[in-house]
């Protein structure tokens, strides 16, 4: 029983990590329908900002996280103006090509600036170690990830579904021309949404360093995971990717624990199954 609960906890925490590193892509690809394969590059930027702030300037981890969000959002804002904006109406293939090019550029720049090695991250004492509850070992950082992920999902859903800005985003995505005619400043809305998506990528990257590591190949190494969550979750809402990430996390951890010989494939088996059953994703666009 204890081991079952332990596996469930680890799985949910791992799923939440998947959600956190992918939620930015749910915004740019899911909501804005822009194939932003460079999502991982923004995540990597957030990771490096976090690590550099902590190492060189002794900034505490919890302060470095918002800084990672801001830095990636700012980079997203600038790139949106000079580059991305021109590709909104282009074909998905064009978007894939330009963003994968960005990934390679980001890798080269990161290697040049920081070298090819892994970057160390020292968590504050309060976030490391573990608690034991009812015989189950709860890793403190994983608890932290669960809380942050839940808060983030709740806030984003609220913003998207209950605020005027959220309505503007959904309207702009559904029909930009009509939205514009109704007084929605589509350009601005897109710009802000894109920046938020990139900021979330940066935040996810910074939160992920502890588990995923950080080196210049980060954007390519984990691209499959980002896409997996968004593809299985479906576009158009943030609930889909959240459920998808949690489901995949639990399946992956349980697979590795109970069937270590084949465990690594279970993640992909689940993906294939879910996409056969629900090709539009768990929560499809209305």
């Amino acid at each position: 029983m204890a081991s079952l609960l332990g596996v469930l906890f680890d799985g949910l925490a791992y799923g939440m990590l998947l959600f956190l590193v992918s939620v930015g892509l749910s915004v740019t690809l899911g909501l804005m329908n822009f194939v932003n394969l460079a999502h991982g590059a923004f995540a990597m930027l957030g990771g490096y900002v976090c690590v550099v702030l902590m190492q060189r300037w002794g900034v505490p981890f919890l302060m470095a996280l918002p800084a990672a969000f801001v830095a990636s959002a700012a980079a997203g804002l600038i790139l949106e103006r000079v580059l991305y904006r021109r590709f909104y109406r282009r074909s998905h293939l064009d978007q894939v090509l330009v963003t994968i090019g960005l990934v390679f550029m980001a890798i080269a720049v990161a290697t040049w600036m920081f070298g090819p090695q892994q970057q160390p991250l020292r968590l504050p004492g309060a976030l490391s170690g573990q608690w034991t509850l009812l015989g189950v070992d709860l890793n403190v950082y994983r608890c932290f990830l669960l809380v942050v992920g839940a808060l983030l999902a709740w806030t984003l859903t609220l913003v998207l579904e209950r605020t005027r800005f959220g309505a503007a985003v959904r309207a702009a995505v559904d029909d930009a021309r009509v939205a514009e005619a109704l007084g929605v400043r589509v350009t601005l809305v897109f710009q802000l949404t894109f920046a938020v998506g990139c900021g979330l990528a940066g935040l996810g990257g910074a939160l992920g360093v502890e588990v995923l590591g950080l080196d210049p190949t980060f954007p390519l190494k984990y691209i499959v995971y980002f896409l997996l969550v968004v593809a299985v979750g479906g576009t158009g809402s943030l609930k889909g990717p959240l459920f998808a990430a949690l489901l995949l996390g639990v399946a992956d951890v349980a697979g590795k624990y109970y069937l270590p010989q084949v465990g690594a494939f279970i993640l992909y088996a689940i993906m294939v199954l879910l996409l056969i059953v629900r090709p539009q994703g768990l929560v499809a666009r209305a």
Binding site: P120, Y141, D252, V253
Partner: protein, 391 residues
Amino acid sequence: MTGGHGNAGVEEESVHVGKTVGRAEDVVKVGMIAEMSGPFAETGRQMVNGAKAYQKVYGDSAGGRKVELIVRDSTGPAPEVAKRLAQELLVNDKVDFLAGFGLTPNALAVAPLATEMKKPMIVMNAATSVITLKSPYIARVSFTLAQVAAPLGTWAAKNGIRKVYTLVADYGPGIDAETAFKKAFIAGGGEIVGEVRTPLRNVEFAPYLQRIKDARPEAVFIFLPVGEQPVAFMKGFSERELDKAGIRLIATGDVTEDGQLEAMGETPLGVVTTHHYSAAHDSAQNRTFLKAFAEVAGSDFKPNFMAVGAWDGMAAIYEAIRRNGNGPIDGDRALATLKGLKLDSPRGPIMIDPETRDVVQTVYVRRVQKRGGRVFNVEFEQFPSVKDPGK
């Protein structure tokens, strides 16, 4: 990673030591194929700097002839790229030696070319046992995983460890390490209570760690390739308090590799590993090596066993040139020199086995300890003259 088109910058980096020399036969060319970009770029940088450090100390000529190092980027585990680069080096640059090779697939792809062209091929790192069997012109100066994993099995059994759980990365070197460790450990009276092979792209060790913890072994033996995986495993190991549950961690030296040891923080303290080189090895030759490496690569870049492999590879090549006499480098003659060659390496004495052309060396048992505020692999026991048990 960049499909072989991104290596222009690296080619610029070639060390054109022989520029001022007039007659072609006065220059000996060494074509070095290394991973200079992509996820294994660290390997390539270690090797190239190790080779340059050797040239800095012993000069850029051997036996009165200039030694020119030509570096080519294999971009990662890319056998087809390595093969093409080797062809270019042999045909266009007319190199006399092939050298480098951080990864097994690249070395295997080039082996038939070495045989065909009768050119000595010095493997400076790639560590699966099978490589030297693929061409009579291959000599290896690095190590094999079986060579360092087997002594650990013997050591563990001798030191009161009875039950071990093994965890290795699921690819050639991982399986080599697992097989050699198990064989030696069981022969010493130990028992394997569980084993698992993890995927190469694994990021989440939590379920494996939990499984190991539940199995309650006395120690867990691991091999994971240098990179984020050993770091992730170590973090998880201490976070899940496997150490407090009385489980010891033993590993091959790749896991606590010198270059990244400091990035791991306090976690690896006390971990016992076996390997052929530690930056903390106490010898005049090692001090010379460390000093030269810092001068070539800067003091921020910490050398590891890969840099030593390249240093020793250059030492072997220099000796082969010296004993070649005048006239073009003769591949068969070079191999005759290399077979049985003894070198004073920064890691200690090494020899190239005349039978297998594989390295014979001391394997050290080390413990991760703090020394003067820095973390090192401190050697405390040794197995002298270990041959590769994988053959």
